[in-house]
Amino acid sequence: MLELITVTATINGDAMTFLCEPRQSLLEILRGELRLTGTKEGCSNGNCGACSVLLDGRVVNSCLVLAVEVDGRHVTTVEGLAREGKLSALQQAILEHAAVQCGFCTPGVLMTATALLRAHPDPTEAEIRQFLAGNLCRCTGYDKIARAVSDAAQRMKEATAL
């Protein structure tokens, strides 16, 4: 039997401890052990972005991060976006713009766009598209997602101005 490693990390604000094999990805642990199944597996080699999560605020493909690497660090998944029973501005904009079709890429898109708006609160359309280029969506043609992200940025700016 392989030696299991104890990892302690802050996941969506909660201190959590789990056991994992050295070779296991963060994606496997999130979905399999912690049952945070909002993070999706589309390709497992970093090419589709469906498993995007925030690691210490930076967007990463959780299929390409070893679970042991997150020891002592902060992980945010799609389950951590809504706060106190309220959707984030991005989640709300994605809904209002009908920017979800099947919804499978949506969690990854939301995480990447969240990272974008934290780093660049007022992105151009080209910046939005460039930042999200690692998140494949096969349903929407990207148009409504790009508009929703832009709209969310606008709303967040207005909310801060108040």
Binding site: K40, E41, T77, L81, L95, A98, Q101, G103, C137, G141
Partner: protein
């Protein structure tokens, strides 16, 4: 007719679940005691299985079940199965028989305590193969001397007789009318070219997944991401020789399908393994397995010929199509034939020949207007070349030859009310088309496309609760937001707010039979079933009111938004529902086709040094009949454009000479990304479908037809070179420049 709800853009009922990660997709299912399955697949494209030794795998601790083709029952089946949307599955695709016929063909499957252990057990299975010559080329496969994939397969000739000898040609569809030779003799200008398209994949982001539980009483429950829960039930029942009533399929949220999730692959394996192991089993495909062993879109060779008089009147049209169907019989060429020249089918002289050809590749499945985009790419390329040669605006030329109501269809029937002319006129009037494109290395392309849309059967039922809310249960799968439009239709019919209707997708034990969500049929047929269910509920409300008023029921009227009225008296929907639940049931069959035309305009700039194509502007125009939820209709058009961009510029299966797939991943098989796809302008043309209560036409597929042609025409006008092969990669564009200087 003015509507209260139809035509508005409410938030979808399942939206919050989708943006919070709570929606349960197939792979999110986890059952107590669940085992994990893996599939051992053939590394060869064509080989005889000499022996399979599973003893070592079965003996591994933690391995609970191993199955091979011998575990599948012998079920009598037509060799070609049933074709088209009403699909069955072939047992040798689930697990190979005495031969493997494509790279990735399942040979055995294992269930174990963990996915890793199941994979290790697969590696412990010993398979001895005797290699056979792979059939990798469409034209070679059609030759009499070609190795046969199936010694008992005879060409199914549409309207003809079965040939005497077996071959690799699964089907032949010939269509002809008038005198094509005379038509071309009459022409002042003739354009004739041969086109090639690549095998491509639907590219849904969620891989196939299935979970099954089998009780000791033989009851089977399957959780799966499928486009048709009843189709999945029927296919599993057929393959495993079980009565459908013993199987309950619980459809999960589905992460994209586009036609590719209408046939089962893993479901029967999950059931076999679960039965043998006595525990629930889940199988999930890797991305490589999805590419290698599900049902892609066919490679094709298409010859297109058009003749016209100097004024642009087309005098003859001719097409020859050979589509690869993969290792088992299927058909996509039928719709290739019927869609290829559909926008111009009023021509007197028309000949089309379509062939479905077997090769050692995975058996194809439907992909968004299956067979049509390839054919339309060829047809719209020669039509465009004709327009350029005659010096006629490409939209004008299409308008001159466009079919209208009463004209002949390709098959010789008469077109019902259609909106091709309206779509072309709307395209011509767009700000996009009205703004000239300027600058070097730039070109504008136009193309039209057709898809007939299927109807099928859908069932729904609803119950009005005591608080006046409505629980609506739908039998057809929601792929991309149809729950919203179904709730809108019920709200409209009952005259209640949209938010009062709560739709859900039922499982096969909780709702009536419903066909696969495919053929762009859902809003047409399931929507119609919702109309019927709401009307049924209205009848029951009126009966309830008549009882309360002690009057004949035919004196009671239901007024949406008000309730039941009789004389000056009113009983609201809520007041009536408080007396007890009110039910409504609706089943719809035979809605008929809802033919839909789309016109696309694309502006591109081609880098003369690298061959890279940048799409500057894109407009999709489509006759949608009536847009129930316009935002989701626009989304259908936009998604179809993005997929067309992939088909036109990037996507292709690459096989080696031995028939092994070289690029089964999203790095080497490139899907269009956020930066490859421009903002997509949409124009919804509404020529109501006269057969439908709301005038709805299917919208999902027609928009997938013209894109590749529009982009090819744009690239041609930008570079001066007609590219006849898809995808038009940067490399191909550079090579064309080098060839022609």
């Amino acid at each position: 007719m003015t509507y209260q709800v139809i035509g508005t853009r409410p938030i979808r009922p399942d939206g919050v679940e989708k943006v919070t990660g709570r929606a349960v997709f197939g792979a999110d299912v986890q059952l107590p005691g669940m085992l994990y399955g893996k599939v051992l697949r053939s590394p060869h494209a064509h080989a005889r299985i000499v022996s399979i030794d599973t003893a070592a795998a079965a003996a591994m601790p933690g391995v609970y079940a191993v199955v091979t083709g011998a575990d599948l029952p012998e079920v009598p089946m037509e060799p070609a199965a049933r074709l088209g949307e009403d699909q069955t599955q072939i047992k040798e695709i689930i697990l190979a028989g005495d031969k493997v016929l494509f790279d990735g063909h399942p040979v055995a499957a294992v269930a174990a305590l963990s996915p890793d252990l199941a994979e290790a057990a697969c590696r412990a299975i010993r398979v001895e193969y005797e290699l056979l010559l792979p059939v990798t080329d469409i034209l070679d496969a059609m030759k009499e001397t070609a190795p046969l994939l199936h010694p008992n397969l005879y060409t199914n000739v549409w309207g003809g007789v079965r040939p005497e000898k077996p071959s690799n040609i699964a089907g032949h569809i010939p269509i002809s009318r008038g005198d094509v030779a005379a038509g071309f003799a009459e022409a002042d200008v003739i354009v004739e070219r041969e086109f090639r398209t690549s095998m491509i994949h639907q590219g849904y982001i969620e891989p196939q997944v299935a979970t099954a539980k089998v009780g000791e009483d033989g009851q089977v429950i399957i959780w799966t991401s499928t486009q048709g829960s009843f189709d999945a039930r029927g296919q599993v029942a057929g393959l495993l020789d079980l009565p459908p009533g013993k199987i309950r399929v619980i459809p999960c949220e589905i992460g994209g399908g586009f036609g590719g999730k209408s046939k089962v692959y893993l479901e029967p394996l999950a059931v076999l393994l679960a039965r043998k192991a006595g525990r629930p089993v889940q199988l999930v495909m890797t991305r490589a397995e999805v590419f290698k062993a599900t049902g892609p879109d066919p490679r094709g060779i298409i010859r297109a010929k058009v003749g016209a008089r100097r004024d642009g009147t087309i005098t003859a049209l001719e097409g020859w199509l050979a589509y690869e169907v993969g290792a088992f019989a299927d058909s996509a060429v039928g719709s290739g034939v019927s869609c290829m020249f559909a926008p111009y089918s009023k021509v007197s002289n028309l000949r089309l020949d379509g062939y479905d050809v077997l090769t050692n590749r995975p058996r194809i499945s439907a992909y968004r207007a299956p067979g049509a985009p390839n054919a339309a790419f060829a047809a719209e390329s020669v039509i465009d070349e004709l327009a350029a040669m005659l010096g006629i605006d490409p939209i004008e030329l299409r308008l001159k030859n466009a079919v209208r109501r009463g004209d002949l269809t390709p098959a010789g029937r008469r077109w019902p009310a259609i909106g091709l002319v309206e779509a072309l006129e709307a395209a011509r009037a767009t700000p996009h088309y009205q703004t000239p494109l300027q600058g070097p290395n730039r070109g504008r392309g136009v193309a039209a496309g057709f898809w007939g849309n299927w109807d099928g059967t859908s069932s729904v039922h609803l119950v009005i609760n005591r608080d006046g809310s409505v629980a609506l249960t739908l039998g057809a799968i929601d792929l991309s937001g149809s729950r919203a439009s179904m709730a809108m239709i019920v709200a409209e019919e009952l005259g209640i707010p949209y938010a009062q209707v709560k739709p859900q997708i039922g499982d096969t034990d909780s709702v009536g039979y419903s066909d696969v969500t495919g053929g762009s049929r859902s809003t047409v047929t399931t929507g119609w079933a919702c109309v019927k269910a709401a009307q049924d509920a209205r009848r029951h409300l009126c009966e309830e009111a008549a009882r309360a008023w002690d009057c004949p029921v035919d004196e009671v009227a239901y007024v949406p938004g008000t309730g039941c009225v009789h004389g000056g008296e009113v009983l609201t929907l809520k007041e009536l529902a408080e007396q007890g639940p009110i039910y409504g049931v609706g089943t719809m069959s035979g809605a008929g086709g809802s033919p839909a035309f789309a016109v696309h305009i694309a502006d591109v700039e081609v880098d003369p040094d690298t061959g890279k194509v940048a799409i500057l502007r894109y407009t999709a125009v489509q006759d949608v009949g009536r847009a129930i939820h316009p935002a989701y209709v626009e989304g259908q058009l936009q998604g179809a454009v993005a997929q067309s961009i992939g088909r036109a510029l990037y996507e292709a299966y690459v096989y080696d000479s031995e028939g092994r797939l070289l690029n089964p991943n999203f790095l080497d098989y490139r899907l269009p990304t956020f930066v490859d796809v421009p903002p997509i302008e949409t124009v919804l043309v509404e020529v109501p479908n006269p057969a439908h209560p709301y005038g709805v036409r299917g919208v999902g597929e027609a928009g997938a037809v013209p894109g590749a042609g529009a982009l090819a025409n744009a690239v041609c006008r930008a570079t001066g070179h007609r590219l006849c092969d898809l995808p038009m990669t940067a490399e191909q564009i550079c090579l064309a420049s080098l060839r022609h200087g």
